[in-house]
C-alpha cells in the first residue's frame, strides 16, 4: 500500500519558521493530510523533538527525529533517526558546533522551544542560522555510524544545496536525496530521490509529501523503501 511520508519540516524553533508551527500542530495537520511517517528537522537543533515525539504518539504518527544541519560548506543536509533520544543527543552535538552568534529576533525571527500544548519553555538565544563546524563527509559518517540516515536537502535549489555550493553531489552513502522538482536532472549516483515539504508555515505541511510502497508504516519500512527506490510522487 501507499504510505505518505514527509521527512523535511520545521517548527517554531527554526528562526525562519512561523511561530504557530508548533510541533503538535505539525503532527496533527500532517495526519489530517494522510501522512503516516513524518520528520521534524529544525535548523541545527532538536530541542522541539520531545514535544514532537509526544504529539506523534498521540495522533498515531510514525515520528522520525532529527535536524537540518547547515554544514561547514553551508549545505543543508537532513540527519534523521528512529530514536528521539539518539536524535536529541546528536542535535545538541550539532548545536555545539555552531558559531556563538546571538540571534537577532527582528531580522531572523524567534527560536522557541515549546511543549506539546505550545507553551514556551525556552527561547534559544544563539542563532541557529549559522554553519555547524562539520563537513558533509563527516556528517554522513557520523550519522550512519549512529544508525541514522542522511538525506541531502533540496539538491536542485540554487542556495544551500550540494549542487549550488559544491557544484556536484558527492557519491556518499546517503539514504536518499531530496529534490524540490521531480524528475530531478542532477546526477545522484543512483540514489532514491524523494520530495519533502520543507514546511515553515502550517499551510506548507504536506505540499511536497511523497509515498512509499510498504505493508506497514514504520521506520524499517521507510529505510527499506528508500533503499529500494519504492517511491511515488504526488500525482503519479
Amino acid at each position: 500500500m501507499r504510505i505518505g511520508i514527509d521527512l523535511h519540516n520545521h517548527s517554531c524553533l527554526s528562526p525562519c519558521a512561523h511561530q504557530n508551527m508548533l510541533p503538535s500542530l505539525l503532527a496533527l495537520e500532517a495526519s489530517e493530510r494522510d501522512i503516516k511517517i513524518l520528520a521534524l528537522t529544525d535548523h541545527n537543533s532538536g530541542r522541539n523533538l520531545p514535544a514532537f515525539a509526544e504529539a506523534c504518539e498521540m495522533v498515531g504518527m510514525v515520528g522520525v527525529f532529527g535536524c537540518e544541519v547547515n554544514t561547514i560548506e553551508e549545505v543543508h543536509m537532513l540527519a534523521l533517526f528512529e530514536d528521539v533520544h539518539v536524535a536529541s543527543d546528536f542535535c545538541f552535538y550539532i548545536e555545539s558546533l555552531l558559531p556563538r552568534i546571538r540571534n537577532v529576533i527582528n531580522i531572523f525571527g524567534q527560536q522557541t522551544v515549546v511543549d506539546i500544548r505550545g507553551k514556551i519553555l525556552e527561547e534559544v538565544t544563539t542563532s541557529l542560522y549559522g554553519a555547524a563546524n562539520i563537513s558533509v563527509d563527516q556528517l554522513v559518517n557520523q550519522v550512519n555510524n549512529l544508525g541514522g540516515m542522511v538525506i541531502p536537502a533540496h539538491i536542485d535549489r540554487l542556495a544551500n544545496s550540494l549542487t549550488a555550493n559544491l557544484g556536484f553531489v558527492p557519491d556518499l552513502p546517503y539514504a536518499a536525496v531530496e529534490a524540490i522538482r521531480v524528475p530531478c536532472h542532477v546526477e545522484v549516483h543512483g540514489k532514491t530521490v524523494i520530495q519533502g515539504s520543507d514546511a515553515h508555515y502550517l499551510e506548507h505541511i504536506g505540499r511536497r509529501c511523497c509515498y512509499i510502497d510498504a505493508d506497514e508504516a514504520n521506520y524499517p519500512a521507510l529505510v527499506n523503501a528508500l533503499a529500494n527506490s519504492a517511491i511515488f510522487y504526488r500525482g503519479s
Binding site: E73, S135, V136, G167
Partner: protein, 111 residues
C-alpha cells in the same frame, strides 16, 4: 610562476605538494564552488575558505594547481590526501580572501 615560487613569496604554509612543473597564470576567489567550477580559468590559484576535500574535486575539474585556504582555516587530512592524489598543492594563511587576492594579483602581475 610555479606554485612553489608563489607560496614562498607569500610566506604561506604549504600543507600539500602538487605539480611542481605547472605554471600558474591566473587566480579566482570564491567560496561557492559551483561558481568556481563555472568561472575559474584553468591554471589558476583558488583563494577560498572552503577547507574540505570537495574543494579538491572542483579544483581538479578546472585544473587549479594551488588552493589557498584563508582565515587560518586548516586543511583536514582527507583533503590533503585527496590533493596529493590529484597533484594539487594546498597552502594555509591567516590572511583573509581580500588580502590574499591582492597579494596574489600583484605577484601574478594582474594589478
Amino acid at each position: 610562476m610555479t606554485y612553489e615560487k608563489l607560496v614562498t613569496a607569500l610566506q604561506y604554509r604549504l600543507v600539500a605538494d602538487g605539480d611542481r612543473q605547472a605554471v600558474i597564470e591566473d587566480a579566482y576567489a570564491g567560496d561557492l564552488l559551483s561558481d568556481v567550477m563555472g568561472n575559474a580559468n584553468q591554471d589558476s590559484v583558488l583563494i577560498t575558505i572552503q577547507a574540505h576535500k570537495n574543494t579538491v574535486a572542483v579544483a581538479s575539474l578546472v585544473q587549479i594547481h594551488l588552493i589557498v585556504l584563508c582565515n587560518d582555516r586548516k586543511a583536514p587530512e582527507d583533503m590533503r590526501t585527496a590533493a596529493t592524489e590529484q597533484n594539487i598543492a594546498i597552502c594555509e594563511t591567516t590572511d583573509n580572501q581580500f588580502v590574499a587576492a591582492y597579494k596574489i594579483a600583484r605577484l601574478l602581475g594582474k594589478v
